[in-house]
C-alpha cells in the first residue's frame, strides 16, 4: 500500500470531499425538484397547524401510529373497535377518551363524529343514571342535569368536527336531534334542521321538520311561507319526501292563519 500525504490530491480530504459532494448533489437535486413539484402540482394544505395541535392532544402511541398516512384510517378503525369493546362494558371515561382519540387520528369520516356524539348524548346518560342507582332512585332534576351535561359534550364534539372537516347533512341532523330531544331547545334544533337541508343532498325530512318546528315556535306565517316554498321541490313519487304530509301541513296553517281561498296555496299537481 502507498500512503499519500494529507492535503495531496489523494489525501483523506479528497476522499471525504467527494463523498460529501455526492450527498450535497443528491440533497440539492431532491430539494430543488421537490420544491418545483410541490409548488406546481399540489394544493397547499390548509389544516397542517390544526393537525399538529390535534396530535399533541391525542392520547397514546396509537395516535402517532395513526398518522402514518394511509394507516391512520386503519388505526382509527382499530381504536373504534377498542372503544366499542369499552362501550359494551359501559366504561364511561375509556369510551370518551377513545372517541376523542379516534377523531384525532382520523377526522375525515363523518361516521365517527356522528356515532361518537350519539354515544355521548344517548348512551352515557343511561350509564351514569344507572350507576347512581337507576331511573327510579335518581331524582328527575339530577337526571336532567346529567342529560344536559352529556348533550353539551356531544354538541361540542360536533362543533369540533366542523372545524376539521366539511359539514354534512347527517351531522347537522344529529345536532338537531340532540338539541331537540335532549336539550329541548326548539329554536336551536330548527336552525340545525335548516342547516341540514341546506347541505348538499340535504334530506327532505329536515326541511319538513324545520317547518314543523317553526310552527311550534308560534312563527306560523314563517312556517306557512317555508312550506309553500318547499312543496314544489318535493318529488311526488318519493316516499321520503312525503309531499302529501307537507300539503296537509300547509292546509292546516291556512286554516290557522285564515288565508282566504283565493290566496290559498295552489299545489299545481
Amino acid at each position: 500500500m502507498r500512503r499519500w500525504p494529507l492535503g495531496s490530491r489523494f489525501g483523506c480530504f479528497a476522499i471525504v470531499k467527494s463523498r460529501w459532494r455526492l450527498f450535497a448533489t443528491v440533497v440539492a437535486g431532491l430539494a430543488l425538484g421537490g420544491a418545483i413539484l410541490t409548488g406546481l402540482v399540489v394544493p397547499q394544505q390548509t389544516n397542517r397547524e390544526e393537525s399538529g395541535a390535534r396530535l399533541r392532544e391525542s392520547p397514546g402511541a396509537g395516535a402517532l401510529f395513526g398518522w402514518l398516512g394511509g394507516f391512520r384510517a386503519l388505526a382509527a378503525d382499530l381504536l373504534w373497535l377498542r372503544m366499542y369493546a369499552g362501550w359494551e362494558r359501559r366504561d364511561l371515561p375509556g369510551t370518551q377518551t377513545l372517541i376523542r382519540a379516534v377523531v384525532a387520528v382520523d377526522p375525515r369520516p363523518a361516521y365517527f363524529w356522528i356515532n361518537g356524539a350519539r354515544i355521548l348524548a344517548y348512551d352515557q346518560p343511561v350509564w351514569r343514571i344507572e350507576a347512581e342507582g337507576g331511573f327510579e332512585a335518581v331524582p328527575t332534576e339530577r337526571r336532567r342535569v346529567i342529560e344536559v351535561e352529556q348533550a353539551r359534550l356531544a354538541l361540542r364534539l360536533l362543533e369540533e368536527a366542523r372545524g376539521l372537516r366539511a359539514s354534512t347533512a347527517a351531522m347537522w341532523t344529529e345536532q338537531a336531534n340532540i338539541e331537540l330531544n335532549k336539550l329541548g331547545d326548539i329554536a336551536a334544533a330548527a336552525a340545525s334542521f335548516r342547516r341540514a337541508w341546506e347541505q348538499p343532498a340535504g334530506p327532505y325530512y329536515a326541511a319538513r321538520i324545520y317547518g314543523e318546528l317553526l310552527r311550534r315556535l308560534d312563527r306560523h306565517r314563517e312556517a306557512y311561507e317555508w312550506l309553500c316554498s318547499l312543496y314544489p321541490k318535493l318529488p311526488p313519487d318519493d316516499e321520503a319526501a312525503d309531499a302529501p304530509l307537507v300539503l296537509a301541513r300547509i292546509r292546516e296553517l291556512e286554516r290557522m292563519l285564515a288565508v282566504p281561498p283565493a290566496a290559498a296555496f295552489r299545489s299545481g299537481r
Binding site: V42, F71, L74
Partner: protein, 274 residues
C-alpha cells in the same frame, strides 16, 4: 463508429428478467399470501354487528394491508434484487455488454414496479370480492339502503389501488437512489424504511414546526418537505370522495418525484464502481 443509442427494448428485457427473478423469491410469495390472509380474515368483523359501517372498516383494513405490505415488499425486494445482482456479479456480465447503466437501473426499477402493480391488483381484487360478499350479506340482513359513503364503491377502491401503485412507485424510485449510494443491502433497507416513515409523517412535522416559531426549524422543515414526497396526500378521503383532477394531480406529483429520484440514481450509479 456504430452508435448504441438508449434502448427501451433493453430496458424491457432487463425488466422482464427482473420480474421473473422477483416472483421466484419466497419474500414475494410470502408477503402476498400473508396480505391476502389478512384481507380475508377481516371478515371476522361481522361479529361486531356494526351493520353498514362494517364495509368501511373492511375497506380501511384492506387499504392498510396493501399500504403496509406493499411498502415492505417494495423496499426489501428492490434492495435484494439490486445488491444480489452486484454481489453475485451477474451485473458484471450484463454491464460488459453494450448496455447503458441507466438502462440497467431502469430495467431493475420497472421489474420491481411490475411486481408492485401485480401485488396491488391482486389484493384490491381480493378486497373487492370480500366487500361485495359482505355488502350482499348486509342487504339480506335488512340493510336495504346503505348510508351514503359507506357502501362498497368499486370505483373508489380501484382509484385507491391506483394511488397505492403511484405511491409505491415513488417509494421504489427513492429506494433505487438509496441503493445506488449505499454500500450494503442492510444499510439500504434501514435507510429506505426511515425515508418511508419520513414521507408518511412529514405532514405532521410541517404542522408542528410551523408553530415552533424558530425560523431555523421552519427552514429545515421546508427543506425536508421539498426533499421527501408527502405520502399522506395519496390517501383517499373516507367515503371515497375523489375527483379526476385530484387523482391526475397526484399522479403527476408522484411521477415527478419518481423521475427525479431515478434521474439522481442514474447519476450516482454512473460513478459507482462495479
Amino acid at each position: 463508429m456504430t452508435t448504441v443509442p438508449f434502448s427501451l427494448t433493453r430496458v424491457g428485457l432487463i425488466a422482464a428478467v427482473t420480474l421473473r427473478e422477483a416472483v421466484r423469491q419466497k419474500l414475494v410469495a410470502g408477503l402476498a399470501l400473508i396480505a391476502c390472509g389478512f384481507v380475508l380474515g377481516v371478515r371476522a368483523l361481522r361479529d361486531f354487528n356494526f351493520g353498514a359501517p362494517e364495509l368501511k372498516f373492511i375497506a380501511d383494513f384492506g387499504d392498510g394491508v396493501i399500504a403496509g405490505f406493499g411498502a415492505v415488499l417494495t423496499i426489501v425486494l428492490l434492495a435484494q434484487l439490486f445488491f444480489g445482482e452486484l454481489e453475485s456479479r451477474t451485473a458484471l456480465t450484463l454491464l460488459a455488454k453494450p448496455v447503458w447503466r441507466s438502462e440497467f437501473l431502469l430495467g431493475k426499477f420497472c421489474g420491481v414496479v411490475a411486481v408492485v402493480v401485480v401485488f396491488c391488483v391482486l389484493l384490491t381484487a381480493t378486497l373487492s370480492v370480500v366487500l361485495w360478499q359482505r355488502e350482499s350479506a348486509l342487504r339480506v340482513e335488512g340493510f336495504a339502503t346503505l348510508p351514503a359513503g359507506v357502501g362498497f364503491d368499486p370505483g373508489a377502491l380501484w382509484v385507491a389501488a391506483w394511488l397505492h401503485i403511484v405511491r409505491l412507485t415513488v417509494l421504489a424510485a427513492g429506494m433505487m437512489l438509496v441503493a445506488c449510494i449505499a454500500q450494503t443491502q442492510l444499510y439500504a433497507i434501514i435507510v429506505g424504511f426511515s425515508g418511508f416513515v419520513v414521507c408518511h409523517l412529514q405532514h405532521v412535522a410541517q404542522g408542528v414546526y410551523s408553530r415552533a416559531g424558530s425560523s431555523a426549524m421552519a427552514w429545515v422543515a421546508t427543506l425536508i418537505g421539498w426533499m421527501f414526497p408527502d405520502f399522506h396526500l395519496f390517501t383517499l378521503e373516507a367515503g371515497g370522495a375523489w375527483t379526476f383532477e385530484g387523482v391526475a394531480r397526484l399522479t403527476v406529483y408522484g411521477a415527478g418525484y419518481a423521475a427525479l429520484a431515478l434521474g439522481l440514481a442514474v447519476w450516482v450509479f454512473r460513478h459507482r464502481e462495479i
